[in-house]
Symmetry: C2
């Protein structure tokens, strides 16, 4: 008998019929002898409907009251799921975030979980009940309702799994696992049976949006095995776990887990700036003061006492960043400010590449053979990212998927 | 400076625009120097929408979970009203029933309020905030969400007014007060400035559905002055208060406050039953066992050792009651069981009639002059009810309104 925390997202509980399907899935797990804690999101569309009501009054609703409003979305779902479970003779009990209680700080709209009181839930589980918890919400020390911000329901699931020391946290979604890359680009992209937390973080932050990065971090930090599965089709999904666990089970870990990509970025270059200490800060300071997030940063080696400095930002911030740089160009002594918002980033991700030389050169060679010019390179222990012209994105992903034979299971 | 509890129903808060109007009304009262606690219902249609979701799963949802579901309706409204208040620079804070906390028993779907913790609300009021509370809901001793059943938001308003010792509880609705009778029947029906709790109870239970009877009882019991006003038009409404308060202000209290009526009843007669002790119970026992509520009961004087027994039930229960009586007719030794579901009940209501003889005879004379046959009569200290053929309802109401000069203010 295992204790399993399951989380179902908005699409999975999008209608009374779908909630009934979830109830049947939960009962199926329970009949296999497991204890179940189920975390649910608001029904798809409901959060937007609620935000619409608030925005009809003002574009800037009071943060505290916005949370009171939004928390109703998940409360509706917990009630309906319990109704569907009990209709089938399965004893169940719903909990709002405040009832659990999931204690958070008081940062309305983006609260952080501080503590979870698991006693009542444990008593219910011991009494044979399924526990159904509203995701995305908590309560602060003064009893105010809070919400956790984007992806908050995943975080609730992981945090409950950690608090209850659950055997596994299963995140049900509309895809059946984590793939070597986007199957819309590479038709024989393969579902990974396992991936490490570190790889998953790189995959997620690089554009393979299966899980919210925050919940993956949380799970890694609290040693909660995380599994991504599909609500709508059967299958084992992808288990996100620890390197040690992987090492034991597969001696020959595959070099590369997958290829992530991102076409939401734009690159900017400040050319011919004096090559002196502090120049990076002089350039990026005004950008970060404008609350623009910078992703990749590359500084070329200097010549003639000057250097070229290139970085990427979200494509939406491109124009604004360009303006800021131009405003500061004179002060920086820069020869030129230029940019390109028709770029894409490709990343090879894999724990295995640490111990295998030659991954980078194999990557560059393959891209070069296809005539794809590499505009920027940045590396970490478990990934290599390159920026190419946007038009080469699909060709690049397919080429790398083939060269590294990701369609084959090790 | 007075402490005022205001309650706005579903129609009054039926859209973001209407919620903004309510905010302006609240701010208007606050600017006159009053402290405000505002109780709101779910937006009109929302409770039905939520019930529809549950019923799509099962016709008999778990009572506990139905309350979790329905409580979201009012939670949405408190958030939106606070957002509208704060947008206008008026500090406000929302409270769910559980946050107040409004402690109830654990009778889900029809819980009764047991206690209210007013400390947090008082602190907010003292800090100059408007307090906005979700009507219709509370929390039981174990922290489960409960709802109060039909008309529960009115009850919340009155209970908060009692707990806070408010100077007045104002119930905003879509009518501008309590009338001498239905203006759709008598065009010069007059709004009453004041009415006693006792009269109001008779008016409400007899069909002038302005306030839920339960909240009127509650207000009377806890000495809370209650005022009914319109959300949509200006005016003083009707104050429901104590006889003593009335006596001081208007020495010459009008005899009759109003004329209530009800066409939802049907009458049944068991004729020629043996006139012996216990016969009333023999007849009504099986009816009440079938959970059918009986309203008026009249037993005529016996002759030849037999008597006729007549009573009224809700028209929906007519067929079933007739069946039950026929099943028992032989056992009772009745000569005949008969009934009529084309009847109407008219009632004169007024504290004043206690000290004025001749009200009843004046009433009977007026109806007789118009050729309206009286089929049943029943009286209490402050009302006289008669049953007439349904077709005479409007004529009867207009006749009595005119004879007792209810269009004239005393």
């Amino acid at each position: 008998m295992a204790l399993i925390v399951q989380k179902y997202g908005g699409t999975s509980v999008g209608s009374p019929e779908r909630i009934e399907s979830v109830a049947e899935k939960v009962i199926d797990w329970r009949e296999r002898g497991h204890q179940l804690v189920v975390v649910v999101s608001a029904m798809s569309g409901e959060t937007d409907r609620l935000i619409g009501l608030a925005k009809a009054i003002t574009p800037r609703p009071t943060p505290r009251e916005l949370d009171v409003l939004l928390a109703t979305g998940e409360q509706v779902t917990i009630a309906l799921l319990c109704i569907a479970l009990e209709k089938r003779g399965c004893p169940a009990r719903s909990y709002t975030g405040g009832q659990v209680r999931i204690l958070t700080d008081n940062a309305f709209n983006k609260a952080r979980i501080q503590d979870i009181q698991a006693d009542a839930m444990r008593a219910d589980l011991d009494a044979g009940r399924v526990v159904v918890v509203a995701g995305f919400q908590g309560v602060d020390g003064d009893g105010n309702i809070t919400t956790l911000g984007r992806g908050g329901s995943d975080t609730t699931g992981v945090a409950l799994a950690a608090a209850l020391k659950a055997d596994e946290c299963q995140i049900y979604t509309d895809v059946d696992g984590v793939y070597t890359t986007d199957p819309r680009i590479v038709s024989d992209a393969r579902r990974l049976n396992r991936i490490t937390f570190e790889e998953m973080l790189e995959m997620a932050s690089l554009g393979s949006k299966v899980l919210q990065i925050r919940s993956v971090e949380f799970a890694g930090k609290h040693n909660v095995p995380l599994r991504v599965l599909s609500t709508f089709q059967e299958g084992p999904g992808t288990l996100i776990t620890f390197e040690e666990a992987l090492a034991v089970e597969s001696m020959e870990k595959e070099q590369i887990s997958g290829i992530a990509f991102n076409r939401d970025e734009a690159k900017l270059t400040v050319s011919g700036v004096p090559d002196r200490p502090g120049i990076a800060f002089s350039i990026l300071g005004p950008v970060s003061q404008a609350n623009i997030e910078v992703d990749m940063i590359v500084q070329n080696i200097g010549h003639d006492g000057t250097t070229d400095f290139t970085f990427t930002v979200h494509r939406n911030d491109y124009e604004r960043t360009l303006e800021i740089l131009k405003d500061h160009a004179a002060r920086l002594g820069a020869r030129e400010v230029s940019g390109d918002n028709r770029i894409a980033k490709l990343s090879l991700v894999g724990i295995g590449m640490r111990s295998h030389a030659g991954v980078a050169s194999k990557m560059f060679e393959a891209l070069g053979k296809e005539g794809i010019n590499i505009r920027m390179i940045s590396t970490s222990e478990i990934k290599i990212s390159v920026v190419v012209d946007e038009k080469y994105l699909e060709l690049g992903v397919r080429t790398l998927h083939e060269v590294f034979e990701l369609e084959k299971s090790v």
